[in-house]
């Protein structure tokens, strides 16, 4: 050892170029890494913000609902014709008819069947629910006329929330004179009030003409090709005939007939289109000629003398149309006293036609439409009608399911964790159990659903769609999480605490239950809450055990059929009605709120009771 020669002690020369370059490279690497980190966090934050904003913007409208304040005459003849005032009889009364009559009274000129049906469609099928409850609880109202809030259909509700069409009103500049008060009406203005409307109609004519011309061009190509083919076949046929090839002639003749047909029909269609284009151009070139308004164009309406006229034909100074709401008189209306109304979305591309939109605007102008907080969303179960659908059933179902999960999971999970961590002998057998618990936490949740289907439903015969089965399945899902979290919490308690307890003569069990477990409790609670939050958001396994059914009733027991919040969201997201889109987003917001609260509780628990050694 001693005779080994040691080389001189090496030092770092900080002055060299290489050393400086190394320092620079290190700084570069560090700033690069910081940039990557910031970029990752930034991108994540942007995604989160976009998702949350999207959900909130889509969901917020579902938290308000527009109701119609209607004066309803509670006619005894409809509700209680026998005069018994028996609540059961009253409940069976046709309140919907009362509400319908009250709405018809607002629009007396909607007399024909079609317009009455349209008027009825403004109302929700649950429009009379509130009225019925009120009258059942207070039969003295029968025979009176009261103002009650009435639920309107989802489409009408959405119209007031801005889904439907923009409405633009411009006051008329000239004096408008209607020719009649109802039916088909012609309105003449002393000014060129309708020039803009006419111009925009003409503008759409050019667009139409351009599209048709393009189509004609395209078809012309096919027509030419068909013509060429026809000529070829003709020469071939002539050749075959001169060669007396009868078989060939028999093949070619039907082919020639078909080609001729095709060429004729194509060139006919091309000619039609070209004529049409020419006609359109003609109409466009004549800026004062009258034009019809179709449902592919924005609707034009005239509001005057308390009525509304839907325009079907327009010129500079006059319009022709049908009355949607009858005029009070055919007196001329002064400039500014009448309005030109434009529904910008063409009638053909929205769910409510001009008549219904006009009625709704009329109701709004009368101050009968009120926007309220949508309590029904929290107080009613699922429904096929968006305006009637709520999340109460799903919320209660979720609560019952989670209750079952918690009752099973917490004692089992904590007991299992304590046994494995503190009492179990360390051998290959406990080793296998440990590995399996850890693996179980990574099993896809749908597998637990299949297990639940096979074991709980098919073998044990438990009820389908019931929170008890959902709770059992979710308990299986959450158990590994709770065991792992509880074991980690128990392991984190320093052994000196247990030794101290053993040192004063506490038994092993006393040491654990008096000292270790209380110190591990915050960690166990945190793990449990996070596990429960996981269970709350779980969908797939519950689909397997039938919790995906359409259930209107709010469950009252753990064996009742029910659904849960995430499954409700899944169900609604599948429905085509626009009204359900907002409800889906709103239900997601409620679910997220619950998850935030649960995770927040977990964080607070951890902060409050966290102990450092």
């Amino acid at each position: 050892m001693t005779d080994m020669t040691l080389s001189g002690i090496r030092t770092i020369d900080l002055g060299t170029e290489a050393a400086k370059a190394r320092v620079k490279a290190r700084y570069r690497a560090e700033s690069r890494f910081r940039f990557y980190g910031l970029a990752a966090i930034g991108i994540t934050a942007i995604f989160l913000v976009v998702v949350l904003t999207d959900i909130i913007v889509k969901g917020l409208p579902a938290f308000t609902q527009n109701v119609l304040q209607l004066r309803v005459n509670i006619a005894a003849s409809e509700i209680d014709p026998k005069g018994t005032r028996n609540p059961a009889d009253i409940r069976a009364g046709d309140f919907q008819a009362l509400v319908r009559d009250a709405l018809r009274a607002e629009f007396p000129d909607a007399k024909d069947r079609a317009s009455r049906r349209q008027l009825d469609n403004i109302l929700s099928s649950g429009a009379s629910d509130y009225l019925r409850e009120r009258v059942v609880s207070d039969p003295s109202l029968i025979g009176q006329t009261i103002t009650v809030p009435v639920l309107i259909s989802s489409d009408s509700d959405l119209y007031f929330k801005g889904v439907g069409t923009n409405v633009i009103q411009t006051p008329g500049r000239g004096t408008a004179t209607p020719s009649a008060t109802s039916g088909d009406v012609e309105i003449k203005s002393t000014s060129n009030d309708f020039a803009n409307a006419l111009a925009s109609v003409k503008q759409t004519l050019t667009t139409q003409a351009r599209n048709e011309a393009r189509e004609a061009e395209r078809l012309q190509g096919f027509a030419l090709r068909a013509e060429t083919r026809k000529k070829e076949l003709e020469t071939e046929l002539a050749a075959a005939k001169s060669a007396n090839n009868a078989a060939r002639v028999a093949v070619l003749e039907p082919q020639l007939a078909a080609a001729t047909d095709q060429a004729t029909s194509l060139s006919g269609r091309v000619k039609e289109l070209r004529d049409d284009v020419a006609a359109l151009e003609q109409r466009y070139k004549n800026p004062t000629a009258s034009e019809p308004i179709t449902d592919h164009m924005p609707s034009l309406l005239i509001a005057l003398n308390g009525g509304v006229v839907k325009v079907t034909e327009v010129t500079d100074h006059s319009v022709k149309g049908e009355t949607l709401i009858a005029l009070t008189s055919d007196n001329p209306a002064a400039p500014g006293a009448w309005q030109i109304v434009n529904y910008q979305t063409p009638e053909g591309s929205r769910r409510l036609n001009d008549r219904v939109v006009t009625w709704l605007n009329n109701l709004k102008d009368k101050g009968l439409i009120q926007s309220q907080f949508n309590w029904r969303f929290f107080s009613s179960g699922d429904s096929r009608e968006p305006e009637l659908a709520g999340i109460r059933g799903a919320l209660v179902g979720s609560a019952l399911t989670l209750f079952v999960t918690l009752v099973l999971c917490l004692p089992l999970g904590v007991a299992g964790a304590i046994y494995l961590e503190e009492f179990a002998p360390k051998n290959w057998w406990t080793e296998i159990i440990e590995v399996n618990i850890n693996n179980l936490a990574a099993v896809p949740s749908i597998v637990f659903g299949l297990l639940g289907l096979a074991v709980f439903l098919n073998f044990f015969g438990l009820p389908r769609s019931a929170p008890v089965v959902g709770g059992l399945v979710l308990a299986l899902l959450v158990l590994p999480t709770i065991i792992i979290a509880s074991r980690a919490a128990l392991k984190a308690v320093p052994p000196s605490i247990k030794e101290a307890a053993l040192g004063v003569g506490a038994s092993h069990q006393q040491a654990i239950f008096h000292h270790v477990l209380p110190l591990a409790m915050p960690g166990i609670m945190t793990g449990t809450i996070i596990g429960m939050a996981h269970a709350l958001g779980e969908t797939a396994p519950l689909l397997m055990i039938g919790m995906v059914a359409f259930i209107v009733e709010t469950p009252t027991a753990i064996t009742d059929a029910s659904t849960v919040l995430p499954v409700q969201i899944f169900l609604w997201s599948d429905l085509p009605e626009i009204g359900f889109q907002a409800r889906t987003a709103a239900a997601i917001m409620v679910l997220l709120a619950f998850l935030f609260v649960m995770n927040g509780t977990a964080i607070i628990l951890r902060r409050r009771f966290e102990r450092r050694w």
Binding site: K426, E499, L502, G503, V504, G505, A506
Partner: protein
Amino acid sequence: MDAMVKPAVNPAVADAAKQLPKVVARNVNVYYGEKHALKDVNVDIPERSVMAFIGPSGCGKSTFLRCINRMNDTIPVARVTGKIEIDNLDIYDKSLDVVQLRARVGMVFQKPNPFPKSIYENVAYGPRIHGMARSRADLDEIVTSSLKRAGLFEEVKDRLSDPGTGLSGGQQQRLCIARAIAVGPEVILMDEPCSALDPIATARIEELIDELRQNFTIIIVTHSMQQAARVSQRTAFFHLGTLVEEGPTETVFTTPHDRRTQDYITGRFG
């Protein structure tokens, strides 16, 4: 060899040896799995005195200490053979309840480890689980007298409900001593009780040990030879799992019989 090391007692100094031995160990072997950690230890520990175990790290002194209240039972791979008797009672007897043994043999650990509870609860826990107090006042009396014996009462009497973990290191260690003596043990095992403390706190603990000697049999493991010399009446030197030499502290430190003891005491290895 151990038999040779044992007596050769100087009657002038060995007043302690005349007393009845409280703890008697015969042929104690400890295995941690394959490792033979303690080899054939024989020692008599006299009553109401302080016995110090010294020796380099890993020599088995702590292992032996933990045999005396069967704390090694908590280590799954540890195996103890031989015989340890306290008052002629074999503590490794199958019929003996280990929990009762630990109530009779208290322990103070290297790092102060008060329960994360109030000072009062720290001391009251042992008496409570053993049903020592008949009433609340009784329990108060036990707590107060234990804290007084541990020399901590004056410092904490106004804040008994404060958490024990809020005390200083030395106070925490005295709290742990109070907790140990609250269950009325006969033997107190101290595993390097001052290694985590500053010199002033150490001095207080040493004074305390000297006082407690009147009532308890104390066995202390220490790395500080000065501490062993200051507080103990008898000293045992362990090396590589064997008990090399045991005798009155003065003898061991001034005229050791074994070369290894001498080397360790004079700082040749350790």
